[in-house]
């Protein structure tokens, strides 16, 4: 089976590039994708922890979408899957946010729902012109509460707009709200620019970088375990509601109709 994630270790072990590459499913967070993401993040955490010199993580994707969110087919097939996926998403977000080195995201296409949550867990977000950001999950009766602590870390009060907006935000709107830090106008130049930024970060003092990241995490509440747990529980409660079951079923049925 083709890998859904490619984990490349570059620059003599300093730079970890995690690429979502399941274009057939628009990089959806499926069970298999979560398995590979967990494995990649565990390997990165171990490698970064064992390395005294600077490290950096680059999260990127290939294909039409950065990440289209949960594999809804799996959630429809087994109602317990939504809760499992939310827990796994929360774990991935926490791993990225508590990584003791910078995490750069290069977003080339739509980052929706759980995909947007992954972006909020990164420290520096670079977007191509095709990047879109949204939580279109209220339409399946699910609250994106799980993402609010990290989203607020980037956008502050703009989290209201991002979390509630029914239509995706483009890269410019996401930048004005603080979720995107740099836009690369030429889609073909995005990967190179993201690599350049990651390498720039590798030139900083690793202890200083780790400690200011830890301070920021404490300051903006994005690593507040009580808030992370409570918002995860809120999303799980909505995700297992009757409202969610029926809205998800209706949405899924509409998605299956040929267009």
């Amino acid at each position: 089976m083709d890998r859904l994630i490619s984990h490349d270790v570059l620059d003599d072990g300093a730079l970890h590039r995690i690429t979502l590459c399941d274009d057939a499913r628009r990089n959806a967070l499926s069970r298999a994708m979560f398995d590979e993401l967990d494995a990649a993040l565990a390997a990165v955490i171990a490698a970064v922890g064992a390395r005294p010199a600077a490290s950096c993580v680059l999260l990127t994707a290939t294909g039409r979408a950065f990440c289209s969110g949960f594999d809804l087919g799996a959630c429809v097939a087994d109602p317990s899957t939504m809760g499992t996926f939310l827990q796994r998403l929360s774990a991935a977000v926490r791993s990225l946010r508590s990584m003791p080195c910078p995490v750069v995201a290069a977003v080339q296409g739509p980052a929706l729902a759980g995909g947007c949550a992954l972006v909020t867990a990164c420290d520096v977000v670079i977007a191509g012109p095709g990047a879109r950001f949204a939580y279109p999950v209220h339409r399946i009766g699910l609250s994106p509460a799980i993402s609010l602590p990290t989203l607020r870390g980037h956008t502050g009060g703009g989290a209201r707009t991002v979390a509630l907006a029914p239509e995706p935000l483009d890269a410019a709107a996401a930048r004005s709200l603080g979720l995107v830090h740099e836009i690369v106008d030429d889609p073909a130049a995005l990967d190179d620019r993201a690599l350049a930024v990651a390498r720039q970060l590798l030139g900083k003092g690793p202890k200083a970088v780790a400690s200011i990241k830890r301070w920021m995490n404490a300051h903006d509440g994005s690593c507040d375990l009580a808030a992370l747990d409570a918002t995860l529980a809120a999303s799980m409660a909505t995700g297992s509601s009757d409202e969610s079951r029926s809205m998800l079923a209706a949405t899924w049925a509409a998605m299956q109709k040929p267009r």
Partner: protein, 248 residues
């Protein structure tokens, strides 16, 4: 009391309309009172998915109608307290809120726009907080501005006073949408229709957590800020500047 606030609910979208067009919907005591009770009545309406706050006529809201109580500084303070309570009621609505802002949203009117989840305006609109120009302290509306755009930008905006265009207000983050005036209605309604498609329980939970995380539920802090504004407006500086403004 004449009807200064109307309510229409169609297809789950509630339109709360301030109707004092001859005064550019300046917030009189009666208007604020009616606005607050209309909003509070929506709190438990499970058939309402989205609330649009709007103003009849050329302007959304020109601010507090202080001139109507020109000789009564105590009444001015009470009106600011009422504005704080109305803002709290808007923020506590469990469904998304949209301010549809044409013409002007000044002072307390800008406060009403900013306390909503979304603000839709147009480039030529006039928005902002000119309170300090009049010797008035904008503390009553400040908490919502700080929550929306952050303390640093809010500090500069409130201290500098004056007004800005809708385009600038959008760039500074106090309005979420800025479209040509002739698209204001369609943009607002498209946003409302999109929001109305969301699961109400899920949206309620998202709004609840947004407010928990940004401190919107700290009623005591909001009321304390209103008290500061009430105290300052009763003082000599504000009263002298207001008297000069009104030429009395």
């Amino acid at each position: 009391m004449s009807t200064l606030v109307s309510l229409d609910v169609t297809d789950g979208i509630a339109r709360v309309c301030m109707r004092r067009p001859e005064a550019r919907n300046a917030l009189s005591k009666d208007l604020i009172t009616q606005l607050r009770s209309t909003i509070e009545a929506l709190q438990s309406r499970s058939d309402v998915r989205v609330v649009i706050l709007e103003g009849d006529g050329k302007s959304f809201c020109a601010g507090m109608d202080l001139k109507a109580v020109a000789t009564d500084p105590v009444a001015m303070g009470d009106m600011l307290r009422a504005l704080a309570e109305t803002s709290l009621a808007i923020r506590k609505l469990p469904m998304p809120t949209i301010a549809k802002v044409q013409g002007a949203a000044i002072g307390g009117g800008c406060g009403l726009m900013v306390v909503c989840d979304f603000g839709v305006t147009h480039p030529e609109a006039k928005v902002g907080y000119p309170e300090v120009d009049l010797g008035i302290c904008p503390a009553v509306v400040a908490p919502w501005l700080v929550k929306k755009i952050g303390a640093g930008p809010a500090r500069a905006m409130l201290l500098l006073g004056g007004t800005m265009s809708g385009a600038e207000g959008h760039a500074k983050g106090i309005a979420s949408h800025c479209v040509p005036l002739d698209q204001l209605e369609t943009t607002t309604m498209a946003l409302a229709a999109g929001l109305a498609k969301g699961g109400p329980l899920a949206i309620r939970e998202t709004k609840r957590w947004l407010s928990v995380l940004d401190g919107s539920n700290d009623d005591a802090a909001i009321r304390e800020a209103a008290e500061i504004s009430a105290r300052i407006i009763q003082g000599g500086e504000a009263q002298e500047r207001l008297a000069k403004l009104w030429g009395s």
